[in-house]
């Protein structure tokens, strides 16, 4: 049941093209039914989960490694699943309006569904290997979503950057998870929690922690990996709203919360998480304030918010964890709404720059109300859900003066950004925009409006709405039940005071914003020293290295290729000889007989002739003699299968070579005397090494059991007397399948190259 629910997005995605054919653009509505159904299903699990139960589903998968296909739904998973499926509904609906008339709308819906399924997989997986697979699937599907407008170079670059950063992080994560599995002796997270001590006390604990954290930090855009998130704003807005505000970037936060009872609580954990978290909080907030483009503004504050969540998880007290959960929920609601509003503004006015927007409330009143509610939540104004989240965050950091100070500063910046994105475009004096704006169709408004209603009601009656869910999620992070309650009014206390300070500072920031944006613009060149530039340099360096390496090893000269291949191979063999102390087996060799001598002389003469001849045909004929002689060798030693194949291959090779002559320039001796000497030395070296190799191989006693097994069982088990063939098609059938696949690929590749040549003019 759970498996079907989690992967239902993939299944439906497969049918989206068909649905498009049947129902046209209305298929998007049909697609929205899936996240809606999932939301309802998850909502039905609510009472059980809140009462402390967990739903589990497990099937054997890779039994040899103890890996199970197992899912688990506890409070934390339910919280995320509800967010993913719930916001998913509005995203799919929104797409209907946002990509109105776009020929590839169904493709976008398809990617969105796939992404949703991957994300649900991440938050439901109990097995770390399964979790990793879904983790990578989110990177992959987000690559498709960010690069949706793939005919724009900026889109392609941004999607590749996101894929490389999060994908590389994923590999670190995999290594960390495997180390943890080895230490704990289980690949199930629920099992690891019980084995916490053996992981924490493991000598490799710092390594595990580092690897897992790199995975989580890259995904959740923590400094210094934050740069990919603002760049990913090239994605169509529904994707930004879904991936980059409410779901994917929170996967890293989810992972940290999920592994908190396994890895957390140690000094390393607390220091790294709070340190990086607060650094990201400040970096994101400061960088956001200098932006003028709507979506980038929001992206940087998302970075900052993610930092706040990581910081709270790092602090790790029940109150801090609860703050992380509530802040996460509040952030998902207001940030998704703001992104959707940003998309609406862009869609309706054709303008992305906030400084060129104003007075929109007259044309799009509903959008304006939704935007202002979201902005109030972001700014942490009372009666909005964000206020509760912010207050709780202050409670969590209260004991650390430095953290408190930095959080307040970040809070002021949040207010500034909330003003710029959610309020100012609607209230200031009317400005001319490329398009004449009005409220968008209901599909696009549904998201911001519903999220706004949730934000407001959660801000007023937080306890009634989210006590259960937030409590269950916090309990899941702590791995023991907690009794925590949410209130709007805590009385007059330090947190309230801090909130007032934040709002005052924010107001000052808003007043000074024009000046600040101007000066921030002047600081823009500093980005050159930022991590984004580091990424660009690294990528450019990699490409240059690849070019250099290709020039060195694959310069296009066939002779050079052969020399490199032969020398490498023989060099490796020689290394082996040295390790084996030159133990050549000289006994037990086949006695030399006249036919063998004659054949050998024939081969040598033909070989020398092939290098000496002045015509291509002569060379090919000489090589043919070598090949046919090899077939005779096979017959002499009783290997008819090999001989037969060798004969046919040789015939076809000669035909192939003769046909290829047509494409070659007239025959000429181009090699210098020196070059020929070098080639000769390499050839003799290769011949010697191969001879020695055979002598060594002769001495290696393979277990006779294998060949005896084949000989004995070939007839009774495989009903065949020709052992060679039986091995090929039965015992080692998978190898053969692989070989013919390679053969097929090689054939298609050669065909493509030949056609390409013919098309571009063929013979020169």
């Amino acid at each position: 049941m759970m498996l079907m629910l989690v992967i239902s997005g993939f299944l439906l995605a497969a049918f989206v093209p068909l649905m498009k054919r049947m129902w046209g653009v209305n298929s998007t509505y049909v697609a929205a039914l899936l996240p809606l159904g999932l939301t309802i299903w998850y909502a039905f699990q609510y009472s059980a989960i809140v009462n402390g139960e967990t739903l589990s589903w497990s099937r054997p998968w890779i039994e040899a490694l103890g890996v199970h296909f197992s899912f688990q739904l506890d409070g934390l998973s339910l919280l995320f699943s509800l967010m993913i499926a719930g916001i998913g509904v509005f995203i799919v609906l929104y797409t209907k309006g946002y990509l109105h008339g776009h020929p590839m709308q169904h493709r976008f819906v398809m990617f969105t569904l796939m992404f949703m399924a991957s994300m649900l997989g991440v938050v439901s997986a109990d097995n770390v290997i399964l979790l990793f697979i879904f983790w990578e699937l989110t990177s992959f599907t987000s690559y498709l979503l960010i690069g949706f407008n793939h005919d724009e170079e900026a889109s392609r670059k941004a999607s590749l950057q996101a894929l490389l950063v999060t994908g590389c992080g994923g590999l670190f994560l995999l290594a960390g998870l495997i180390l943890m599995s080895i230490a704990a002796g289980t690949t199930e997270i629920s099992g690891m929690i019980a084995q916490r001590d053996s992981i924490i006390d493991h000598p490799h604990y710092p390594v595990m922690l580092g690897l897992v954290l790199i995975g989580a930090f890259t995904k959740s855009a923590q400094t210094p990996f934050h740069f990919w998130l603002p760049n990913a704003m090239q994605a169509p807005t529904p994707a930004s709203a879904y991936l980059h505000s409410s779901t994917m970037v929170k996967a890293g936060v989810y992972l940290l919360a999920r592994l908190s009872p396994v890895l957390g609580g140690t000094p390393e954990w607390i220091w790294v998480l709070t340190g990086i978290g607060v650094l990201t909080l400040i970096t994101g907030a400061v960088l956001a304030s200098g932006q003028t483009y709507l979506k980038r503004l929001l992206a940087y504050t998302t970075v900052a918010a993610l930092g706040a969540m990581v910081m709270a998880i790092g602090i790790g007290t029940p109150k801090a964890l609860q703050a992380a959960v509530v802040f996460l929920l509040a952030h998902a609601c207001y940030k998704a709404a703001l992104f959707l509003v940003a998309g609406i503004i862009d869609h309706e006015t054709g303008e992305k720059n906030v400084t060129k927007l104003g007075g929109l409330r007259k044309y799009m009143p509903l959008t304006g109300i939704a935007a202002m509610i979201a902005a109030a939540s972001m700014a942490g104004i009372p009666l909005a859900f964000g206020f509760i989240g912010k207050e709780m965050l202050y409670t969590a950091v209260l004991h650390h003066p430095a953290l408190t100070g930095l959080t307040i500063i970040a809070g002021a910046f949040f207010m500034l950004v909330a003003w710029q994105t959610g309020v100012r475009p609607f209230i200031a004096s009317v400005k001319e925009t490329p398009k004449h704006p009005h409220d968008p169709p209901w599909m696009m408004l549904a998201g911001p409006v519903v999220l706004g209603i949730i934000t407001l009601s959660a801000g007023i009656i937080p306890g009634t709405l989210f006590d259960g869910l937030a409590g269950a999620a916090t309990a899941a992070i702590l791995a023991h039940p907690v009794d925590l309650h949410l209130h709007l009014w805590h009385g007059i206390n330090t947190e309230l005071l801090l909130s007032i300070v934040t709002i005052v500072l924010g107001a000052v920031a808003i007043i000074l914003s024009a000046f600040w944006i101007k000066s921030a613009g002047k600081l823009r060149p500093c980005v050159r020293f930022g991590p984004d530039q580091g990424y660009q340099n690294l990528l450019a360096g990699l490409v240059n290295f690849a070019k250099w390496q290709t020039r060195m090893l694959q310069g296009g000269s066939l002779r050079r290729y052969l020399i490199i291949i032969v020398i490498t191979m023989c060099g490796l063999f020689v290394m082996y000889f040295i390790r084996a102390n030159f133990a050549f087996q000289l006994n037990d060799l086949t006695p030399i007989s006249p036919p063998l001598v004659i054949l050998s002389i024939l081969v040598i003469i033909a070989g020398v002739a092939a290098t000496m001849t002045n015509s291509r045909l002569g060379a090919v004929a000489a090589m043919g003699v070598v090949g046919f002689s090899a077939a005779l060798f096979f017959i002499y030693f009783g290997a008819p299968d090999l001989a037969m194949t060798q004969l046919v291959i040789e015939t076809l090779s000669i035909v192939l070579l003769v046909l290829a002559f047509y494409y070659l320039p007239p025959f000429a001796t181009r090699s210098t005397w020196r070059g020929r000497m070098r080639d000769g030395v390499v050839a003799i070296f290769a011949g010697t090494v191969v001879t020695l190799l055979i002598l060594v191989a002769n001495g290696v006693q393979l277990s006779p059991a294998v060949s005896e097994y084949y000989a004995e069982t070939s007839v009774p088990l495989a009903h065949g007397r020709n052992i060679v063939n039986v091995i090929l098609v039965d015992y080692r059938g998978l190898d053969t399948l692989g070989e013919i696949t390679v053969l097929a690929v090689a054939g298609i590749g050669s065909y493509a190259l030949l056609r390409l040549r013919i098309k571009t003019g063929g013979k020169s």
């Binding site: 035909v655 013919i740 298609i748």
Partner: protein, 144 residues
């Protein structure tokens, strides 16, 4: 270059080589032979045709695109290996069906044979795809 003798003899040689290639394929399980060498032999028969006549004639003799043979062969091999899934056995577990024809003879049909036919088709397809593509250009240019 057209040679009447080559053309004439090709007409007689072609069926013989083809028959031989199928013979090689079928006997492979018990005697020297098999799909690989059989496929090569069949490819040489078509190549002979392409040399004696021209690529177009060889292609029309083949009836279907040689590239299609590659895919077909791969599918056949993979499909024969996946038949074992029906019996809840791992991939490529061989399945045998013995049909009694008379008192003396039993026809033994098996998935390894189907697998080998797949190999035969892939080898034939790949070889012909490359050789015919190479030879094709020759004819075009000669005719032009």
């Amino acid at each position: 270059m057209t040679s009447l003798i080559l053309r004439r003899s090709t007409r007689y040689l072609f069926p013989v080589i083809m028959l031989f290639s199928i013979y090689l394929l079928l006997r492979g399980h018990n005697e020297p032979g098999g799909g690989f060498v059989g496929g090569l032999a069949a490819a040489s028969a078509y190549t002979l045709y392409a040399l004696a006549y021209d690529v177009t004639t060889a292609r029309s003799l083949l009836r279907i695109d040689s590239r299609l043979l590659i895919g077909l062969g791969l599918l056949l091999s993979l499909g024969s290996g996946m038949l074992s899934f029906l019996f809840k056995q791992p991939l490529l577990t061989s399945q045998w069906a013995k049909i009694k024809i008379s008192q003396q003879y039993t026809l033994e049909l098996s998935t390894p044979l189907v697998f080998d036919i797949g190999v035969y088709l892939v080898v034939l397809g790949v070889t012909l795809t490359i050789i015919l593509a190479l030879a094709d250009h020759n004819t075009e240019e000669n005719e032009a």
